[in-house]
């Protein structure tokens, strides 16, 4: 390959458009792909992620569901077992709590329980993230609940490019994949290749190389970490930012290698702190990089409270750049 060939042409699109493109391309490619969710049809979804799909694919493949999350996720499981590739959309990730039996007791286990007799080729798209004053029932980041469950895969992209490539892989995957989209990122712009591409599930990505400290981050926390890295760079500290991209399969090798290299690691995630993502990742790092670490692995996550409504209350409960910067400073003491 020549140097020009590797620099593939790109254009700037939003996270939302990246999601929409991924679905459209996969629906064109494979008749078995359908989209089901509340108001995903003619109205294009409340976050406008399916705009144009109903017009292109019709109401047989872009299906407005009743407000019955457990039911239509269950129905998607059945469709996935019998030759379809449903994408089920949950407007707010919080509503996933209504579908846990179907996702955890059914989708995650059916292949295993039947000794490998079938595939559950299901993608569940769901939103996450606070910061919109949506209060406790519309702001949760519940990815840890699903990452805990054997049989599920969990993707959690941080930018338009990754979102598109990972979502296409998720749709083609023969297993149930939960795909978390931060609501605050839908308008974010990013470079996305013009040509078709896939990003495999299970590869972390170093979004910024650095030598002094490793910031392991997910979803919107990647952007936050990159900002923090800029602040730190001004102080002469070079942070390496590792975007986890998939909670399962987890690319522990990349994460651990970075921690070994820098000797310091901080894990940053927007879910609630306790018994969540940061505990697992910190624990993996200390287990595998113990002899390389010059300080404990620190964790930054949402406060252990339901997410409050008032912006003055909400802000202090979610991670911010200052906390990351301070943590790095405290580590390197």
């Amino acid at each position: 390959m020549t140097a020009t060939a590797t620099a593939k042409p790109t254009r700037e699109i939003t996270f939302r458009e990246a999601i929409c493109e991924a679905m459209a391309e996969e629906m064109r490619r494979d008749e078995a792909v359908i989209l089901i969710g509340e108001d995903v049809g003619k109205s294009g979804g409340i976050f406008k992620c399916s705009e144009g799909l109903w017009a292109e694919f019709g109401s047989n493949r872009v299906i407005d569901a009743p407000i019955a999350e457990e039911g239509y996720v269950g129905l998607s499981v059945g469709a996935a077992m019998t030759g379809m590739r449903p994408i089920a959309e949950l407007m707010f990730g919080d509503f996933a709590l209504l579908t846990m039996d179907q996702l955890v007791n059914q989708a995650a286990k059916i292949r295993y329980m039947t000794g490998g007799q079938c595939k559950v080729s299901l993608t569940v798209r769901l939103s996450m993230g606070a910061g919109r004053s949506s209060a406790a029932q519309h702001s949760q980041s519940l990815h840890a609940l699903f990452a805990h469950i054997p049989g599920l895969k969990v993707a959690i992209p941080s930018c338009p490019r990754d979102a598109k490539g990972l979502l296409k892989s998720a749709i083609r995957d023969d297993n149930p994949v939960l795909f978390f989209e931060d609501k605050l990122m839908y308008n974010d712009l990013g470079e996305v290749p013009e040509q078709e591409y896939l990003i495999p599930l299970g590869q972390a990505d170093i979004k910024r190389p650095g030598s002094d400290v490793t910031l392991v981050a997910t979803s919107s926390m990647v952007g936050l970490s990159l900002e923090a890295a800029e602040v730190l760079a001004a102080e002469g500290i070079e942070a390496e930012v590792v975007d986890v991209r998939c909670l399962y399969p987890l690319d522990a090798d990349t994460i651990v290698a970075s921690a070994k290299k820098t000797g310091y690691a901080i894990v940053i995630d927007e879910g609630a702190a306790r018994y969540g993502i940061t505990g697992e990742l910190a624990s993996v790092i200390q287990e595998r990089a113990f002899d390389w670490l010059d300080g404990p692995v620190l964790r930054i996550a949402a406060a252990d409270v339901p997410i409050p409504f008032s912006p003055v209350l909400e802000l202090p409960t979610i991670p911010d750049v200052a906390r990351v910067v301070d943590a790095v400073r405290s580590l390197r003491g």
Binding site: K42, S43, I46, G58, I67, D94, F95, Q137, F309, P316
Partner: protein, 381 residues
């Protein structure tokens, strides 16, 4: 309402200059979505014999006592005015989050809550301001909560979608569609076990009527004979989706048959009809007669929330409902006709309410935000 209250009142009371004869059919429509063409691109011809519940109003012949009528009128005006100010506050960027307005549906909350005692329970929805006010919430606390202030009912932690006022039996709005079926039913069980003869009313939407927990809760209410009323506000849409497109029964009250529960359907624009139906159900429940399912046929005059342009419905459809089914207009006319009120009196109430609501807005604007540390309180008791 944000403008001159007098003009606004005249608008409410005015007879539409061009009475519309078109609207979309409701009870008659097919339960199957017609996928090939966009749902309801134009309202179909309204059949002469209007479907029960939502068609020509079967007006009560006699009004209840004047106090009751006046207080219902006042409460409906209060809700309307409150919501129009929420609109205003929202569009001026003075409140965070989302605002789901109750304009057009006032008669349901007011009719129902008028049939309740203060110690009776309600559970509310994301579209809950009307329920809260009707059950007795104060304007200041409501408005302050909506703006995220410490003086709000929830100290700024809940916001528009989570207002509760336990002191008057309001167990709270709910951001989860269908999230309060269990809670209302549990409050009814609690009342029964504590032998208090309290009753619980569970407000929910046509969209919520497809959540399975409704069947689970309703079934328990039947087998244990609980004092609970499931009051469906069928405002024709769940977000952007017309209810017929996602509902397998022609009338939502038909769900009751599958629960083994009594069901009634009522014109949700007619506060007197709602009052009567709910009173009957409450009496029955209080006497140990068990649960009732009620469908109130209504319409939201605004979009799903402030900012939703509601392109999924036609102007004609909206106009028909506003012209024919404005609950405040309808009650005002009855009051005038029955000689219970004069134009001036109605106007005076409107003006008083407007002043109060404006005062509440001012109060809320001036009120301080909670201290950031309060975010970490109230998690556990």
């Amino acid at each position: 309402m944000a403008g001159n209250p007098v003009i606004a009142l005249r608008r409410w009371l005015s007879v539409s200059p061009h009475p519309r004869i078109f609207s979309r059919p409701m009870a008659k429509s097919s339960p199957r979505p017609k996928k090939s063409k966009p749902a309801r691109s134009a309202p179909a011809t309204r059949s002469k014999s209007a479907p029960r519940g939502d068609g020509a109003r079967t007006r009560r012949t006699r009004l209840p006592d004047a106090d009751t009528v006046w207080s219902m009128y006042r409460k409906m005006v209060e809700i309307r005015s409150f919501e129009e100010h929420v609109w205003d506050v929202y569009t001026r960027g003075l409140m965070p989050g989302l605002a789901h307005l109750y304009i057009g549906e006032e008669a349901v909350a007011v009719g129902a809550c008028t049939a309740l005692r203060t110690d009776d329970y309600i559970t509310s929805t994301h579209r809950g301001h009307g329920h809260c006010l009707a059950k007795g919430a104060r304007l200041e606390g409501m408005m302050a909560e909506i703006m995220g202030k410490e003086a709000g009912y929830c100290r700024g932690k809940g916001g528009s979608m989570h207002i509760a006022d336990m002191s008057v039996g309001n167990l709270g709005a709910n951001g989860i569609v269908g999230g309060s079926f269990g809670i209302a039913t549990g409050a009814a069980l609690s009342a029964k076990l504590r032998k208090t003869d309290q009753v619980a009313v569970c407000f929910f939407g046509d969209g919520a009527a497809n959540q399975g927990i409704l069947m689970e809760a309703a079934n328990m209410a039947v087998i244990w004979n609980l004092p609970v009323i499931y009051l469906c506000e069928n405002n024709q849409y769940g977000e952007h989706t017309p209810f017929e497109a996602v509902t397998g029964v022609k009338e939502i009250v038909d769900r009751a048959k599958g629960f083994g529960m009594d069901g009634e359907r009522v014109d949700g624009a007619d506060v007197l009809a709602v009052l009567e139906v709910i009173r009957r159900a409450v009496d029955k429940a209080r006497k140990g007669g068990g649960p009732t399912f009620v469908e109130a046929v209504t319409y939201r005059f605004k979009g799903h929330h402030v900012g939703d342009a509601a392109g999924y419905r036609t102007k004609e459809e909206l106009a028909w409902w506003m012209d024919n089914k404005d609950p405040i207009q309808l009650l005002a006319r009855d009051m005038l006709k029955a000689g219970v009120a004069t134009d001036e009196q109605l106007l005076a109430v409107q003006e008083q309410v407007e002043v109060e609501v404006i005062a509440a807005v001012e109060f809320a604007r001036e009120a301080p935000y909670p201290a950031p540390e309060q975010a970490f309180e109230d998690v556990y008791s």
